[in-house]
Structure formats: structure tokens, C-alpha cells
């Protein structure tokens, strides 16, 4: 893993370890309701300061925490048009299948490519360290996958172009 990426992911990991201390907290507004406070943002005393970690202008991670939930939003690197459409397609594909991931949000936060919502119930069902490992590995895998997809598309295009031009021989 390259050094700048390692530093970025380490920073995200440390922030998540500090932020992922969630507890059950019923809604103060409505009786017998239990809602993720980070989504509603109705009670400012239940929200912590959001943390924005930027690797560069194009890549950043926003971590918003509240007493019973945590929201992580990621902006993925997109160097050119092809990476742009590949990232868009892939992240939209994952978001549409958010139920398979449980902690994934169906719609990303505005200005970001993908978002996670972790509640206290997820922390009870899953191990905290493994959850953080998943998020960090997800960030690493997304970058890798988009680069591999771009290379595969280019390689395929080259092979198909060669086959087409061979017909003229």
C-alpha cells in the first residue's frame, strides 16, 4: 500500500475507533421511537463535531457521529471520464444492494459518492474492530477495483481493436 494512502486509511481508522462508541438512545421528540440521531439532527446536544479527512481535493472522508449512530461518507478518486463512469456505476450498484451490506446507505450524502450508517444495533450484532476493518478495507478495495476495471476495459478495447484491424490484412 502506498504511503499517502496508508496514512489516510490509518487516520480514518483511528477516527472511527474513537467515534464508534454508540449506545441505545430513544428519541427525545417522539415517544417509543428510536431513531439514528445523526440522520435527524434535531437535538444538537446529541451530536458530536463532524470530522473531515481529506487525502487530496478529490478524495475525502466525512465522519459524523451522534450518541446512537455514526455516518461515514466517502468521496472516491476519479481521474478521468472513464474512472468517473466506472466509479458511478459501481457505487450505484452497491447502493442499490444496500440490504446485503446492512451498514450501507441507499443514497449517498450530497457531495459524496457513498455513505455508511452504523447504529448501536449494528455494534451489538457485529464486532467493532471487524466493522472498522471492513470500512477501511472497503475504501482500499474500491480504489483498487476501479483501477482494475479501467485497465480491463482498456485491455479489452485494445484486443477488440486488434481483431477488427486484422480483418483488413
Amino acid at each position: 500500500m502506498a504511503n499517502p494512502l496508508k496514512l489516510y486509511l490509518t487516520c480514518v481508522r483511528n477516527t472511527l475507533e474513537a467515534a464508534l462508541c454508540l449506545q441505545n438512545f430513544p428519541c427525545q421528540e417522539v415517544e417509543r421511537h428510536n431513531k439514528p440521531e445523526v440522520e435527524l439532527k434535531t437535538s444538537p446536544e446529541l451530536l458530536l463535531n463532524p470530522v473531515l479527512i481529506c487525502r487530496n481535493e478529490a478524495e475525502k472522508c466525512l465522519i459524523e457521529t451522534s450518541i446512537n449512530s455514526l455516518r461515514i461518507s466517502l468521496k472516491v478518486k476519479q481521474a478521468d471520464e472513464l474512472e468517473n463512469i466506472l466509479a458511478k456505476k459501481f457505487l450505484r450498484f452497491l447502493s442499490m444492494r444496500a440490504e446485503a451490506f446492512q451498514v450501507l446507505r441507499r443514497k449517498p450524502v450530497q457531495g459524496y459518492d457513498i455513505s455508511f450508517l452504523i447504529t448501536n444495533y449494528h455494534c451489538e450484532e457485529m464486532q467493532k474492530q471487524k466493522l472498522i476493518d471492513f470500512i477501511v478495507q472497503f475504501m482500499e478495495d474500491i480504489d483498487k477495483e476501479i483501477s482494475e476495471l479501467k485497465m480491463s476495459v482498456s485491455t479489452r478495447g485494445r484486443l477488440v481493436a486488434s481483431e477488427f484491424l486484422k480483418q483488413f490484412l
Binding site: 459501481f90 450498484f93 457485529m126 478495507q137 476495471l149 476495459v153 478495447g157 481493436a161 480483418q167 483488413f168
Partner: protein, 362 residues
């Protein structure tokens, strides 16, 4: 529209069925392909011939009339097999060409399959013969240009010592445009490498090339740019002319097929990657569920113990019942025998469910 395979599969299958039939059969089929090509096959028991009529779009602006086939095209069709095939004049109403096929003159070997395949590719012959006529005289000083429209229009521009074929590319989806643009750039890169020097030079530009100055605006409005091939005399030699023409006719279809396959490939990769990501998340959950399963296992042991104690109760009740039955059966009672039996005739029990032995008072 030209397809990658020259012979129409449905037409070939029908003609083979008629040829392989032991006795003449009645056939009256209409076949439609690519929403613009129509075949009409008629064969009857009373006649020894089979009639094949073809209707295919032949649009070209400013070069040949669009409703009739050129003499060169008709000559090329006759060359498929002069014994088996004959052109019927005038053609059937609504069709541009009617052929009379005499299968009795087909040789009974592998040649017959080859002839039937060539007859099935007559639509490809018609399409390519028009373009062949244009490309054959590359060195002619006659400067002209024409637009061929089958489904997707493309231009053929005659210049000194070369002919330029320009393809305006249009796509419905923005992502298709990006994939196709990447393909066109690879096409140019491959052509510019040393070993492909014999191939027509190709070029892609997002704006119309200078050769298309003066054409209608709606014909030049595209989202995928313009791809052009420079055809020289070397590429239209007798041996290569057919391949060159077929490649140019199929260029649009080739690009669209590649874009479609690439989208499918991207979808498959995304699905595989998603499965691997979900497995990582499930690992964080599985260990928790294993611990829960162990707790459930302890509860199961408790349930089993409850069941065994119940069975002991049932056994005890059965024992009491059988005792009562024995008492009723044995009417002869000996006083004191019961005490004697209990003291001297019962087997001592060394294991106690209570865990201690009760001492009797003497």
C-alpha cells in the same frame, strides 16, 4: 444491415430443409431480419423450383437509384452458382430481387452446403457490391462523395489517391459514449504501432472532419465523434476488397457490440466484487452467531434432561400399575410373605439417585 455473419441463419436452415427433404414439400415462408430485411421463400410440390425473393434497404444518396440493383450487383449474384441460381425478371411485387433455385442441379457432396450458404448470404452480397463499386477505382481523379444509409449513415469521400470512409458515431447513453471513446483511442494507438502499417490509417475526432464541410447539420450532430479510415489502392486489391468492404459495412455494429459486451463484463465484475465485500462483513457477524449457538446448545442439554426426568416418572407409574395387576392376579395371599420377599428376595441397589443410603432403624 450488415451483420458479422454473412449468411442468414434462418434462410440457410429453410433452404437446407427444402434440399434435404426426401420428396418435394410445400413451403411459403416470410422471414424478417434486422427489422428491414425481408425474405420470401416459396416452394411447391407441383414445381421443381424454389423461389427466393429479397427486400433489403439500398439507400445511397447521389450515386445509384435506391430501388433497383445495379448490373454489377446482379452479375455478382449470378456468379454464386450459375447452374443452381437464376434471376427472375421482373422480381416479385414488393421485393428487389427474385431468384429461382433448382436444387436438383446441386452436387451431392459438401459443395452443396457451400452453395446453399452462399445463396443465404445474398443480402450481404447486395450490400457489399454497392460499396465495392465505389472502392474499386481508388486512383480515379473523379472527386465525389456520397452518404450510405442502411441504419447508421456513413460517408464515402473520394480524394486523389485515396478514399476516406467517415463514420459519425451516436450513442443513447453517456456511459456508452465514454466506453466507445476509449475504444476509438485504443484503435488509433494499435494502428499507429509498427506492425499494423498495412492497415488503413484510422483517426477519431470529436468534431466533424474537414471532408464533411457542407453536409447537413442534423447529419453531423453526434455525441461519439467521427471515425475515419483512409482506404488506398493496396486495401482494395482483388484479394482484400471483400474483407475491406465487409469490415467497413460492419463497423457500426462492431462498435455497438463491443460496448454492449463491455457493459456486461463490468456488471459481472461488480457482482463478483460485491460478493467478496459482503463476505468480509459477514465474518464480523459469524463469530458472534457461533457464541450464541454455544449458549443455545447448553439450553438444549437442559431440555434433554427435562425429557429424561419425565421418562423416569412414566416408568415409575408403569411399575406401580404392573404391581397392582400382579396383586389382582395372585389371589392366594400368604401373610408375612411380602416382608420376607422384600428383605431376602430383592437385589440390592448400589447406586442411589438420592446420592446417599438411608439407614433403617432397628
Amino acid at each position: 444491415m450488415a451483420s458479422f455473419e454473412r449468411a442468414s441463419p434462418a434462410l440457410k436452415e429453410t433452404l437446407l430443409r427444402i434440399y434435404n427433404a426426401e420428396k418435394p414439400i410445400e413451403v411459403d415462408h416470410h422471414l424478417y431480419e434486422f427489422s428491414s430485411v425481408e425474405y420470401y421463400i416459396k416452394s411447391s410440390v407441383s414445381e421443381p423450383f424454389t423461389y427466393l425473393s429479397i427486400s433489403t434497404p439500398l439507400l445511397s444518396r447521389g450515386v445509384f437509384p435506391s430501388h433497383r440493383l445495379s448490373p454489377c450487383t446482379l452479375r455478382t449474384i449470378r456468379e454464386i452458382s450459375s447452374d443452381v441460381l437464376d434471376i427472375v425478371e421482373p422480381p416479385t411485387d414488393g421485393y428487389q430481387l427474385t431468384l429461382r433455385l433448382d436444387f436438383s442441379k446441386l452436387p451431392h457432396n459438401k459443395e452443396s452446403l457451400k452453395v446453399i450458404t452462399e445463396v443465404s448470404s445474398v443480402q450481404a452480397v447486395i450490400l457489399s457490391s454497392q460499396l465495392k463499386e465505389r472502392l474499386q477505382n481508388v486512383n480515379s481523379w473523379d472527386m465525389s462523395q456520397g452518404m450510405y444509409v442502411i441504419r447508421e449513415p456513413f460517408y464515402v469521400i473520394r480524394q486523389p489517391r485515396k478514399i476516406v470512409a467517415v463514420f459519425p458515431m451516436r450513442f443513447k447513453d453517456h456511459s456508452d459514449v465514454i466506453i466507445a471513446t476509449s475504444f476509438f483511442q485504443e484503435l488509433m494507438d494499435v494502428r499507429s504501432s509498427g506492425k499494423w502499417s498495412k492497415i488503413p490509417p484510422c483517426n477519431w475526432s470529436p468534431i466533424p472532419p474537414p471532408e464533411l464541410r457542407g453536409e447537413l447539420f442534423e447529419d453531423l450532430s453526434t455525441n461519439g465523434g467521427f471515425v475515419s479510415f483512409d482506404i488506398s489502392s493496396h486495401h482494395v486489391e482483388v484479394k482484400r476488397l471483400d474483407k475491406t468492404v465487409w469490415s467497413l459495412l460492419n463497423f457500426h455494429g462492431y462498435v455497438k457490440h463491443h460496448v454492449k459486451c463491455t457493459r456486461g463484463f463490468i456488471q459481472r465484475r461488480m457482482r463478483r466484487r460485491m460478493d467478496s465485500l459482503v463476505q468480509v462483513l459477514e465474518k464480523s457477524m459469524i463469530e458472534n452467531n457461533e457464541e450464541i449457538k454455544r449458549v443455545k446448545g447448553w439450553k438444549k442439554v437442559k431440555k434433554w434432561m427435562k425429557l429424561t426426568s419425565k421418562s423416569k416418572m412414566i416408568k415409575g407409574k408403569y411399575h406401580d400399575f404392573t404391581k397392582k395387576m400382579k396383586r389382582i392376579r395372585f389371589r392366594v395371599k400368604i401373610h408375612g410373605f411380602g416382608c420376607f420377599r422384600r428383605r431376602w428376595l430383592t437385589i440390592a441397589c448400589f447406586s442411589s439417585s438420592v446420592g446417599y443410603s438411608k439407614l433403617k432403624k432397628h
